[in-house]
């Protein structure tokens, strides 16, 4: 079955790509920019006049451009943070699975210990202690989310290591490096893709949580979490400032979760059939 025949996957992927395309092109097409204030148009509701499709905020800045910038930042943080967690998680899990034995036991015991910690509070602690720059947000969020990935990769590596084709390669004289790169790594791709997709919404959640509290992305930059926060402060006068970013954030998170679930079902079905 082709992957595109799966409705959950195609629909959620389509919506995500659509949102990403608008976020990339929108600010470029729009006559407005995200920092210009206009004191004649404070908190005006969405209209085609002046092309303020999502209205303006309490400083008269165009909400459409700001929201699209927020989407960009949110997606960027999510993707980079997921890559960070991918690198840490895959390396950690693969080493534990390949080496096995006591090293594996100790490494996994450490993962269990880390699982018990309230990580989000450590991220907040990091943001308090250090300057709130972009790079730190990426790394902090990525460093939080690698545990699941490490566990999954380790389990998969352990079972792959014992399979006949790996044994055959070893008998054929293949070295460790060749076995890992040619025989084990390609078989990890599917499951890693699934778990990266499921890590992305978690990273978005952490980033928007931080930005919502004012600890994440700082003005004049913005992200969906920061926009929701701004919307909360104006909700009695300007409901669009809350509803539009909140809906977008919800849709993005839902799509990523559905995409991850769909991919997992797809790879599971292929495994069992």
């Amino acid at each position: 079955m082709s992957i595109m025949a799966n409705r959950t996957i195609t629909i959620s992927l389509g919506i995500l790509l659509g949102i990403a395309a608008i976020a990339l092109l929108g600010p470029w097409v729009s006559p407005n920019d995200y920092t210009s204030t206009n004191f004649d148009r404070l908190l005006s509701s969405p209209s085609f006049k002046g092309l303020h499709l999502f209205g303006t905020d309490d400083l008269g800045r165009d909400q459409f451009v700001r929201t699209m910038l927020g989407v960009r930042v949110t997606l960027l943080v999510a993707i980079v943070a997921s890559l960070v967690s991918l690198i840490i998680g895959v390396a950690y899990g693969a080493i534990a699975g390949l080496v096995g034995g006591r090293v594996d036991a100790v490494m996994m015991r450490m993962v269990d210990t880390l699982y018990a910690l309230p990580f989000i509070f450590f991220v907040i602690l990091l943001m308090v202690a250090f300057e709130r720059n972009f790079l730190l947000i990426f790394v902090a969020i990525g460093a939080v989310n690698w545990l699941d990935m490490a566990r999954i990769v380790r389990g998969q590596t352990l079972s792959l290591r014992e399979r006949e084709f790996v044994e055959a390669a070893r008998l054929g004289g293949a070295g460790m490096l060749r076995i890992v790169t040619r025989h084990i790594a390609p078989n990890l791709v599917g499951i890693v893709v699934v778990y990266v997709t499921l890590t992305i919404p978690q990273a978005i959640l952490v980033e928007s949580f931080l930005s919502f509290l004012g600890l994440g992305v700082q003005e004049p930059q913005t992200s969906l979490g920061a926009l929701v926060d701004a919307g909360v402060n104006q909700m009695e006068r300007a409901s669009w400032m809350l509803l539009i970013p909140a809906t977008l954030l919800a849709v993005i998170l839902l799509c990523f979760n559905f995409l991850g679930d769909g991919l997992r079902d797809y790879f599971d079905a292929r495994h069992t059939s």
Partner: protein, 302 residues
């Protein structure tokens, strides 16, 4: 006993990590736009023992911790961190406990009902709601509910301080509980489907027991094990959520102190609350582990 011994290094790790993070921070806690004379700065540093070498500061902190003393707050003058926590935590605890009870009640009920009618429209609707509840963060649900129910329709109070009526609990508790209801419903459904397919349930059915009795006597206990192991993460999630909910509704609980402390760079307060929360979660995980062994004797082998 073995598990208790495992919790101690975890706690130490938490304390060391948190302590190092705060003390590795560039710039001192009293750095300000206003430049202080050098001798004043030295006096402040001495008063808060900031002039000592780091290991000595850490030992001093540990020693205080053992006596339940988390040091003075850097921003709230004349208050210790322990006093602030003792003041603010009971309210957070009350909200959290209410939310957790609501989540367990509704989550288990919805999950069980969905499992009994697996594949039906009802099942799909419940699971759709559950997916939505898991995906959408508290800080999106809470303000939208406030806007609809409190600002537009005026059914419920929007804030905390404007009223003393019990209705002020409703929105915070419900928003705090929603994601957990969703999670617990999904967990319950999956494990209930698993349990209902087992032989002992078939035997009970063959004996002519009605569904309610089967659930109550036979199915509920084994099906609740995954939900029990989720209690640790659930409490962590509710603590995280309480930070947001208290901020949005203006509830003077520990979460609000945490955010204020973080924004004010009140290092000792933030460090103290992190240590306090982490201890709470580690102890809770320990309790869950032990309870698990009591309910399911098969896991007591280790």
């Amino acid at each position: 006993m073995l598990r208790l011994a495992g919790a101690v290094p975890t706690l130490l790790l938490v304390i060391v990590l948190a302590f190092l993070m705060v003390h590795a921070a560039p710039g001192g806690p009293f750095d300000d736009e206003r430049v202080l004379p050098a001798d004043v700065e030295a006096n402040i540093a001495a008063a808060y023992h900031l002039d000592e070498p780091l290991p000595q500061q850490f030992l001093r902190y540990l020693e205080g911790l053992l006596k339940g003393d988390l040091g003075p707050s850097y921003r709230y003058r004349d208050y210790t961190v322990s006093e602030l926590i003792a003041d603010a935590f009971p309210l957070s605890l009350k909200l959290g406990a209410l939310a957790m009870s609501l989540a367990l009640l509704l989550g288990v009920a919805a999950g069980t009902a969905a499992a009994l009618r697996q594949g039906s429209t009802f099942d799909r609707v419940v699971m759709g709601f559950a997916m939505t509840g898991i995906s959408i963060p508290v800080f999106v649900i809470a303000p939208v509910l406030v806007m609809l129910l409190a600002v537009k329709l005026q059914w419920l109070p929007a804030g905390w301080s404007g009223t003393t009526s019990l209705t002020r609990y409703l929105l915070p508790v419900v928003t705090l509980a929603l994601p957990q209801i969703a999670y617990i419903a999904r967990l319950t459904r999956a494990s209930m489907i698993d349990v209902l397919a087992r032989d002992f349930i078939r035997t009970a059915r063959a004996q002519g027991l009605d569904t309610l009795t089967i659930l109550r006597v036979h199915a509920l206990k084994p099906a609740m094990l995954p939900v029990l192991s989720y209690m640790g993460p659930a409490v962590a999630a509710i603590l995280t959520g309480s930070v947001v909910v208290e901020e949005i509704f203006g509830i003077p609980g520990l979460g609000q102190f945490f955010v204020r402390g973080a924004l004010n760079r009140d290092y000792t307060l933030v460090l103290g609350i992190v240590v306090f929360y982490a201890t709470l979660i580690v102890l809770l995980n320990l309790a869950v582990d032990i309870l698990y062994g009591v309910i399911d004797p098969r896991v007591r082998y280790r």
